[in-house]
Symmetry: C2
Subunit: 133 residues, 2 copies
Amino acid sequence: MTATTPDQDQDNLAYDVFAKACPSRTTLEHVTGRWGGLTLGALFEGTLRFNELRRRVDGVSEKMLSQTLHALERDGLVHRAAQPTNPPRVDYDLTPLGRQVAERLLALIHCVEGSMDDVLAARARYDETRGAL
Amino acid sequence: MTATTPDQDQDNLAYDVFAKACPSRTTLEHVTGRWGGLTLGALFEGTLRFNELRRRVDGVSEKMLSQTLHALERDGLVHRAAQPTNPPRVDYDLTPLGRQVAERLLALIHCVEGSMDDVLAARARYDETRGAL
C-alpha cells in the first residue's frame, strides 16, 4: 500500500504487509493465525469435512474452526461445498489460490519442524544463561 | 511429536505442528505471530537497532516488540548484540537458522501480497452473496 523500498524487486509493490493499514496484513493474519495455518495445511492433503478437519487440527474448538473457515472462505482460499446428500454433508477444500498460499506455508512449517532440535538447544542455552544471572 | 502420516516423506518426523503438545507449534506461533513474522521479515534485510525495527514494523508497541524479540532470541532465530559504544547500542540480526526460517516466511508474505487483488475480489463476492441472503 505504501512504504515500498528501493530494494523490493518483486512485482507486487501495490501491497505491503509492513504497512499497518494494508489489507494484505489481515490476510497474512488469517493465513498464519494459530488455526488458519493448520487448517490450510490440513486441507492441502485433500478435501475434508468439518469434523475430519477438527480431528486433524488437534486442539481447535468447534467455534474457532468455524470462524477460521469463514475467514479463509471469504478471502477466497477455501471452498465450501454443501453436498446434496442425506444427511447433508459439507466438504471443504482449497481453491487454486489457497493451494499456492498453503504450499508456501507448508514449506515454512516443514522448515520449523526440521529446525526444532536446534531451537530446543537454543532455548536450553538461553534459559541457562538467564538462570545464571 | 506424534501422528506422523504415511505420506510424510520429509526427514523431520520427530516434530509435528498438528499435534497440540508438540513444541514446534510454539515456535511456529513465534514465527507467524502478528509481530514475530514482521520482525523476522524486517531483519532479513539486515541488522537493525530496536528503534529502527519499531519504525519498520509499523504499529508495534515497545512492549510487544520487546516480548517478540525475546521469544525469537530464545528460540535461536534472532541474535542480540550489545555494542560497547557510548551511548550503548543494541543491534539485532538473524542467526543462520533465523535466515532459513525468514526466507520461507518471506516467500509466503510475497505470495500473499501478490494475491491481494484476487483476495479482495473474493471478499467482495462473498459479502455480496451474504448480503443478498
